[in-house]
């Protein structure tokens, strides 16, 4: 056991011969009472905590379940958004491909139109030549 002598801790040995004055005895008695009180408080707190333990465990289980639900919800929304985004990307790609194809068709149409114009001009020329030959 450790006691305070002149406010300094001192470890009592079984062989120590201690003589206490009445005042010192009273001080040690008060110190002992204070320690007993602190011990009793600690013991009571422990009892109360033990009583609270099942409730705390229950609350922890509930929090874990809620956490798990929130995580599942986030995973679900993340998967959904990722899928939607991929789908949107594909749509955008198809749209670009379709635009490219339309532009290519427009170009081909312009080329064919030019060829057709040339053919018309040629036919007109041939008709004119034939008419002139007939006149001669």
């Amino acid at each position: 056991m450790t006691i305070l002598i002149d406010n300094k801790p001192y470890q009592i040995k079984p062989t120590d011969q201690i003589t206490l004055t009445g005042q010192e005895f009273t001080e040690h008695q008060l110190q002992l009472d204070s320690l007993k009180e602190a011990y009793e408080d600690e013991r009571q707190l422990n009892i109360n905590l033990n009583k609270e333990l099942p409730n705390l465990r229950h609350q922890l289980a509930k929090a874990q379940a809620l956490n798990s639900t929130l995580l599942q919800q986030r995973i679900k929304q993340q998967t959904n958004l990722t899928n939607c985004t991929y789908q949107l990307q594909r749509t955008a790609d198809y749209s670009t491909l379709a635009d490219d194809r339309i532009n290519s068709y427009k170009q081909q149409a312009l080329e064919l139109q030019a060829e057709l114009k040339q053919a018309h001009a040629l036919i007109k020329q041939l008709h004119t030549d034939k008419y002139q030959k007939e006149l001669i």
Binding site: L71, L81, T91
Partner: protein, 70 residues
């Protein structure tokens, strides 16, 4: 366009990743809704939009793990 889509459009237009992630966790988005929004006059092109949405998707879970590790 619904109120839900208008809010989504605003969050996308302002490139607010965290706010959009928080919103989507509670109010999921469907492809049809997203496609309609993408066809609006957005300040970003389709490639930037998909990159932004992937960032939002990463934040949905990343933010959760950050919160757990705090």
């Amino acid at each position: 366009m619904s109120e839900h889509q208008s809010l989504l459009l605003e969050l996308i237009s302002t490139s607010n990743v965290a706010a959009l992630a928080d919103y989507i966790i509670q109010y999921p988005i469907s492809f049809t809704e997203l496609e309609e929004i993408a066809n609006q006059n957005l300040p970003i092109n389709s490639r930037e939009l998909t990159q932004f949405l992937m960032e939002v998707a990463d934040t949905i879970l990343g933010d959760y793990y950050d919160h757990l590790n705090r």
